[in-house]
Assembly symmetry: C3
Homo-oligomer: 262 residues x 3
């Protein structure tokens, strides 16, 4: 009873045909939606979503991830094996951060000869990736339908630049609360600051706290999010909407440097 996860920008409807395909091949597959509301064609947002949740799934899970603006062109279709998990999707970098988080990666290119003839030009989620993922979760050896390759698109989250007390950062992801995930890893921010201090965000004073309820409802705060990155949030509010920020937006944060004792 293997698990198959789905991460797409498809909204409703289209994921259902992927599920039909998967269950037609392996009626015992357990399908878990990670998200189908990734912003359209936003490969980095999808990469962050998968990266955030991947480690909570057990070994043997097959992750099908399809944000695929290049569908129907000659971009490759790949399978990645890492830490006992499998990743199936287009070769555009989306699965890389999640796969690398789990350990050493092995990348396989899905051969055209392994694919049926009736593939649409616009929906490989259904016609290619759902099929391949279902066969893998059912136990098929990946080498039966794909061959190892070193030629693939990579993607890594660029981390903020820290220079003395100034952090030049970027929005990595905006969640459904409107909380803004910033490209500063927890260990970096905790290495130079502490909860209870106040940061300067482009001229605004914003407290750095351990959780939302440390400020009044409606107040802005920085915290370390459950994904392991610095987060800018409004307690019980929508920070992205209030600040007008979107994925990739830049910001400058000035911190009081804390002298850490060893």
């Amino acid at each position: 009873m293997g698990i198959v996860t789905l991460t797409t920008d498809f909204g409703s409807l289209y994921p259902a045909s992927m599920k039909g395909v998967i269950l037609s091949i392996d009626e015992n597959a357990k399908i878990v939606d990670i998200s189908h509301s990734i912003p359209q064609a936003d490969i980095r947002a999808a990469a962050f979503a998968l990266f955030t949740v991947v480690e909570y799934f057990p070994k043997g899970t097959v992750h099908i991830a399809v944000v695929d603006p290049g569908v129907g062109t000659d971009r490759k279709a790949i399978v990645i094996h890492s830490g006992g998990h499998y990743f199936v999707g287009p070769d555009n970098g989306l699965m890389m951060p999640a796969a690398r988080k789990l350990g050493k990666i092995d990348v396989f290119e899905i051969g055209h000869e392994s694919l049926p003839d009736d593939i649409s030009a616009t929906f490989h989620g259904r016609d290619v990736f759902a099929r391949v993922g279902a066969h893998i979760v059912k136990g098929l050896d990946v080498q039966k339908l794909a061959h190892g390759t070193d030629d693939f698109v990579d993607l890594a989250f660029h981390h903020a630049h820290v220079s003395n007390d100034v952090v030049s950062a970027e929005v990595l992801y905006i969640d459904d609360f409107g909380n803004i995930v910033i490209n500063v890893p927890a260990e970096v921010i905790m290495g130079i600051s502490s909860f209870g201090t106040t940061f300067d965000l482009d001229g605004m004073d914003v407290p750095f706290m351990d959780t939302y309820a440390r400020t009044d409802p409606g107040s802005l705060l920085f915290l370390v999010g459950s994904h392991g990155y610095l987060e800018l949030a409004i307690n019980q509010g929508n920070a992205a909407q209030m600040l007008g920020l979107h994925n990739g937006a830049r910001m400058s944060i000035t911190l009081p440097i804390i002298e850490k004792s060893k």
Copy 2:
């Protein structure tokens, strides 16, 4: 371990009580959401959604489909059997295109005597259709709770009128990308045109391509969608929003006629 699919305009929450009812009757049922975000009371949109995905599910699947503006009136409750699949829902045409796609249909009316007494006037999805669907997926013979009938509401997708080089078409469905599905079947458009040509859409030049990435991001294109119909889309954008189109909207497309060799 049978599959039950759900297609509704219920949004969140209400589908959960249907799932509770189903699992209380058949704890082994595998429930797959097709969509719960059909536009409210839009029977044709629901019909297209179910029609699009039905063939990807295995035989034995029970499809419960409830967009039901007539709930609590004397509209009938029906079961359709077609191609080894079952369809359960209100008698308003919604399930017809999907059922006919799978083969010869047999329609059954659910008798009042088969139903429990505690039925609400406003939520037959939970009180009637979930129960009936669950009993069918668990193996109950349909004839035990419904009797054959020839008296039912039919619904078919009206196809575009083609006259020489002018196609008078209509919007069938708008997906969550804002891609516009048009009532021109793939075989009709491929019979009179070819990828790489340019169509005239109410005065605008729009290329006809095999996939999204053949145009620049933000550009409008026609293509054949994965559902087998002509589609009007913006590469990485929202065509329905940009053009202000909605289900049922009409458009006139002029094509360069291609002389097809036999």
Copy 3:
């Protein structure tokens, strides 16, 4: 093969890590989403959602419900046992109406000593409640990880005040159709009125009917909703949007008193 339900204000993405945690502990768990689109931090709306669907799930179901503005503070984590169901979540009242609906409640506080060390300050849905819920559905005795307590936050739906022919009411919940659930139980309204009469809503005449289709599309009506409360709706329309009402909004309804024969 126990059932675990999830009720949160998390939107997409975060529920997936809860599901990964649950399936890592009990690969046979059947997970059902009740809603992940509860308005942010709206404990009462979540309470009503869970209250509405709980009775349709079979005994043995574990309901994890996390709308948790106090996460990371010293609010307690609790388990409630009632009518053969289990409820797992923060001690803020959210689970009380559903639990009390099923019978006599037993409340347990999850001890700190039962919890692992790697708990984040901001996501107890994943780090505490998913783990506890999964162990319970797998068969762990609640007393192994929690101890009985009488000290917990309670929450009950305040019912409308009825004085002669005037009902001073309040919005309990707004569903995804924009239908407005009002804090007047079905038995109260049916005790003083009958379908077919007309109510006065802040100066507007609104008919009281048994189902939506008794009025023209676009018309306002009162009815008894499938949740057992008075409901204000627009047939095939969005009443909350049209009237500008939100959770907690107040309204005054004047009824023609019906002399009920015993």
